[in-house]
Symmetry: C2
């Protein structure tokens, strides 16, 4: 992969990388499509990174669909797919970790200790191996994208991180490989994340700026769903992921909700453009 990337760079091509854990859905493919528009050589990686799973998490049962994934990537025009074994990425004696202190300890980081250390370490490795000019991530994992952007800035890495919109099912559920875990009843109930965020969006458009008020509105929707159990529902600054009291600059409403044993996340991006009306992106 490194040799291939080096050669493509030497030929003056613009390289794009779409790092994935496989189990590809329309969200991933939207990243590939964007990369195809913006780059002249698009690579993808498929690696279910053990370092970003906690000891009690779903590493073993994480969905794997290698044949289907590579077919989709080939059909979408990906030129090379990097599929390392865990032992290649983490050989015996591996002991180096990259950590973005601060934002890695909140929200996803608090619920999943060590998660972001695993993410930043593997993403740094993938960027060194594939040497992309642009690397593409989905906004569903907004905190992850923010942390990776911070790492790239702090460590002077030679890649630009591109964050693409959330792709949703027709009923609003954000695409996620983990949706495959849901029972039919849980799948129906899972739209409650979208509904809660949509409620916050409507409140924002009604002029509500108080974070607690927006949070309460989301919680009321979530708590009305018997199958859902809230991990967090917060309004945070889009840079620091620290809680805000009022939505007065770029912020996220972020949710993590259990449906049975399946943990789903979703978010609403809120910002203020030139005019008075807030910009709210689901």
């Amino acid at each position: 992969m490194k040799e291939h990337a080096r050669q493509a760079r030497a030929e003056g091509r613009i390289l794009g990388l779409v790092p994935t854990m496989g189990a590809l859905h329309e969200g991933h493919l939207s990243l590939v499509q964007r990369a195809k528009r913006e780059c002249s050589a698009v690579f993808a990686s498929i690696f279910v990174n053990p370092k970003q799973f906690g000891p009690t998490e779903d590493l073993a049962k994480y969905p794997r669909s290698f044949e289907a994934d590579t077919s989709k990537l080939a059909a979408a025009g990906v030129e090379a797919v990097f599929v390392p074994e865990p032992g290649e990425m983490y050989p015996a004696g591996f002991s180096t970790y990259v950590n973005v202190e601060g934002p890695s300890d909140r929200l996803e980081g608090r619920s999943r200790p060590g998660h972001f250390r695993g993410v930043t370490t593997v993403v740094l490795k993938l960027l060194q191996i594939a040497q992309p000019h642009f690397a593409y991530f989905g906004r569903k994992d907004a905190q992850q994208a923010r942390i990776i952007q911070q790492m790239v800035r702090d460590l002077n890495l030679d890649s630009e991180i591109v964050v693409s919109p959330i792709v949703r099912e027709s009923d609003g559920l954000a695409m996620s490989s983990r949706n495959a875990y849901l029972s039919p009843d849980e799948r129906k109930a899972a739209t409650v994340l979208y509904q809660a965020l949509d409620t916050a969006r409507r409140e924002l458009h009604r002029g509500v700026r108080d974070a607690l008020e927006l949070q309460s509105a989301m919680r009321r929707v979530l708590e009305a769903e018997r199958l859902a159990s809230v991990d967090y529902a917060e309004i945070v600054d889009a840079e620091t992921f620290e809680p805000v009291l009022r939505v007065s600059r770029a912020s996220y409403a972020v949710l993590a909700v259990f449906l049975g044993t399946t943990r789903l996340i979703d978010n609403l991006y809120m910002d203020f453009g030139e005019g008075e009306a807030p910009l709210a992106q689901l």
Copy 2:
């Protein structure tokens, strides 16, 4: 610097980087000379990295001799010198650190908590900025060199770490920018590090392999010097920097010794070649 390096790489040149904290001596210049032999473009950096100094250490008084340094580097044929300000390397909000767990906690790492985290973080940044094919480090900081090599391997970095022999004064004292702190009496006494290591070397050639015996021989020499106070004097594995019981594979005798308030380090590399006689490099 990044643009200059990118262009030099695009021209097919082989890039060498000599990262320094300035206050250059013959040890640094031997690295430049080696880089000149092995590369077609040699860069140096001068940056007194605040992140690798502890709160009670000598950051403020660390010797700075910018004019003399740049003259020496120019005379030695260095093509570009990268001299960032602390605020450029660590802008407001900087929060990403690279850590090699394990070897970073022993010896220098135990005496100087956080030191190696600062070293690996700044070296990763310098490697990303200057993009060298080869980066040159002195063997006086053997543990540092080993930790940086581990980082490069673990993170798939695109640079090779070259470790060069220790350069010594005529009486054996290893060259170090910190030697400038020594009073005339301390300077005379400082040769005790070399003498202790030379004693270990002679014991090794006499057939001694027991680590405690070699350690005791070194301590006897060090403790006979009234101005010296031992921080550590150990025999360690050259890969892991864990203590060994017997010298049976590549190992170091490593010393850290205070002369007054000045802390000096030095080491002896021990290995076994094809024959029976051990290889011992001071």
